[in-house]
Amino acid sequence: MRWLLDLLSTSIGKKVLMALTGLFLVLFLAVHLYGNLYLYAGEEAFNHHAESISGNALIRIVEVVLFLSIIAHAVSGVQLTIRNRRARPQRYRVKRRAGFSTLASRSMIVSGSVVFIFIVIHLRNFFYEARFGRAAAGESLYRVVSETFALPGYAALYVIAMVLLGVHLAHGFLSALRTLGIEHQRYTPVLRGVGLLLAVGFAAAFASMPIVFFVRSLA
């Protein structure tokens, strides 16, 4: 185990941890999105799906890994950012970019922080209600979701967080692969495309739900 702790204390080791947890979180997003799409299939289908996964033992185990991944990703992200800031104590008066970095790549700590804050609020509103709160007491989870999405503040926060999640993924997916050493002139352009597709796809699909439910609540 010492070699593992040793690895995690180095700069590249921390980045590998970020890459692996980040890719795991992308995988989780796909599973989460699959479940969310039941919202469009109606109240019964959604509630049925929600009940079937919350009773699954495997899901409970993966849930723990998921929470640990979120924490590890956030903590090492903050640690690396602090280390990077310290590596240049004095800023340049004039600094121009060579032109390869993007707004997404330069603002990972900002997009990541907003998404993290969103996740905490999101867990309180849905995970807590589903597992321990209103839905656990027998209320329809679908109703909990549609009522929450009808709140303009929450719907707006959700949409903003999903846009920033997309921005985060636009750099994060390819960056994670590169940190793991995956870089090849033949495959990197394809993987960059996959990353952008995931970024736009996840952001649009997740953000559509609060928008649709909020608009419905007005009618």
């Binding site: 980045k15 600094k95 390869f100």
Partner: protein
């Protein structure tokens, strides 16, 4: 042509520094950037002032001594060019040009535009070498090297260790430098036996020197005067991971 220089002046490592303006109305478009500083220094010396300290040696773009930020870009605005090979014809008459030393915790300023880059030496001392016994050289054809590998190793070996990658990186990371050295040696049979130990030791030395970490933004490649590619960083990651997971 006339150029308005604003140069970072700092008398010593512990002293505070600041920008000083110099009007250069005797600049000639065919001068290199270092020659412009030579002209300025002659003028300063005649006036009894302290000349601007800057590093230089070959002035052919191959030694890696020179380098500072010219209007916010390491070695200036051209791609694949060192400061000594950058000519004034690439600037506009009357342009204002800001000169700043590399800024990184691992590269403390010695004086004016000169920084201490011995952190790079420590990274090299940690593993940027091949241990060979002296004696007669082996028969060249006894060591077959695929052409693609020797090309890649040679491209990486073009790194002159100037520090532009560190200077241009927003995290002051030395990954492009270390990646180039690791690639150059790992791809050739002479360097292969030590590749794992080398990658691990160089990364440790890099961390210890206080460099930042790569965030995969590729700005270093854009400012590298030798066009060292970003793919070398991914290879360093691979080599390092292989070292840590197998040793």
């Amino acid at each position: 042509m006339t150029l308005h220089l604003e140069i970072w002046r700092q008398p010593g490592p512990e002293a505070g520094g600041g920008f000083v303006s110099y009007e250069m109305d005797d600049a000639v478009p065919d001068m290199s950037f270092l020659e412009l500083l030579d002209v300025l220094n002659e003028r300063l010396e005649r006036a009894g002032e302290e000349p601007v300290a800057f590093e230089h040696d070959c002035r052919e773009g191959i030694c890696g001594s020179c380098g500072f930020l010219i209007n916010g870009r390491a070695h200036g605005p051209l791609r694949g060019v060192t400061a000594c090979q950058l000519h004034l014809r690439h600037f506009e008459d009357g342009e204002r040009i800001v000169l700043e030393p590399w800024r990184a915790r691992a590269f403390p300023v010695v004086k004016d535009l000169v920084v201490d880059r011995s952190a790079f030496d420590r990274v090299i001392q940690a593993g940027g070498f091949v241990s060979v016994n002296t004696g007669s050289a082996p028969e060249a054809n006894a060591l077959p090297v695929p052409r693609a590998d020797s090309d890649r190793a040679m491209d990486a070996a073009a790194c002159i260790g100037c520090g532009a990658c560190v200077a241009s990186c927003k995290n002051a990371a030395a990954m492009l430098f270390a990646g180039a050295k690791v690639t150059q040696l790992a791809l050739l049979p002479q360097g292969a036996p030590e590749r794992r130990r080398r990658a691990a030791a160089m990364v440790e030395a890099m961390d210890a020197a206080g460099f930042g970490n790569c965030t995969n933004e590729r700005e270093c490649e854009g400012d590298c005067p030798k066009d060292i590619t970003f793919a070398n960083i991914a290879r360093l990651n691979r080599e390092y991971l292989a070292a840590k997971l197998t040793r």
